[in-house]
Amino acid sequence: MIMRDLIWIFVGACLINNFTLSYFLGICPFMGVSSRISTAFRLGLATIFVMVITSLCASFLNAFILPHAPYLQVISFIVVIASTVQFVEMVIKKLSPALFRALGIFLPLITTNCAILALALFQTSKEYTLIQGLAFALGAGSGFTLALVLMAGLREELELSTIPGVIKGTALNMIIAGLLSLAFMGFAGLFSGAA
């Protein structure tokens, strides 16, 4: 039963309520870092990683600190997440320069990504346990990665096309995102009947 619950949380965050395509979170990197599939994929992995850390931090804050001062939620989330990620970044840079080159350069970029803070906030408002929170973080991260990689694939394809100058750029990216989001509506209600 617990397993099923976790899968539901994962699928929900990944496909049904995809952070990017349904909640519009992380649009900046979604638009900015989706021009190459390889980069997009690495950014996605880094995001999953940061989301897991965030989820842990948020669980920790929710358990020990925020009951005393709920009004400090936003500010303490931000401070703790940013510091932890920066710390992890330093560790990676020291321990594995290769991994740093692959993922690390994205880390500071991700910290100020609204998807991260939103993850912590949603997790808090849905009152997930530590494990549920992790499933949620993994789902949200995978969903973001999926959307990002699909977008990057489509954009690489578009680079070979002659797009009218008026629509080239953000306008077209928005329309592609809209169509992707439209396609993702097919996942609506997935597993809700079974759960």
Binding site: Y23, L25, I27, Q73, T170, S181
Partner: protein, 242 residues
Amino acid sequence: MADSGSSNPLMLGSQQQAGGGSVDPDRMYREFAKGIWKENPVFVQVLGMCPMLAVTNSAINAVAMGAATAFVLVFSSIFVSLLRSFIPKQVRISTYIIIIATFVTVADMALKAAFPVVHKDLGAFISLIVVNCIILGRQEAFASRNRPLYAVADAIGMSIGFAFALLCLGATREILGSGTLFKYPIMGSNFQPWVIMILPPGGFLMLGMILLVFNWAGQTRAKRRHRADGEANAGGEVGSAS
């Protein structure tokens, strides 16, 4: 590198360190006006897309979000501008974020107290103003380098620009998606609402359309100007060669 405020000692030309001297009303106006159209944070700089898309399924939400953002932007700009010579360079971003987060919390509480329904609609997105790139961007690019008065002018201009964009999108989506504007039915009772407009895809598609219209207007203007310029500037800055 003790030279605080400037991120790069090599940065050329663009530096406008306001020393003493009096406030220049012309410049005040320029800083104010640029954010509304010429450097509109949404249409031109393409910033702040998350709230732009997330809360614009109705005009009321759009206005509320615009107001909250404006509040945070103006007050954090004042603080950052006042503190600009005291904040050490290495921790400036963290400091900005803490200042912003403080005002966001205030805005969140105020909205919750005053308009609980709207607050519920906007959900976590009020809190997410913290990571709105427009706000951090203005602190980094403007408030930290200019005197408070200019910073306020800039912040108000940008806020209006942002709110204007939010309203554009929010109003269009509400009219088509529910047949109402500010909850007031304007399309007649028999209107068939386009549900897609209040769904996520509608947000993306509508913003795409608005940007398209914006680009098209800009390009037509550029073309007309180019034509007017005649041979003097031939082969110059036409938007595209398609």
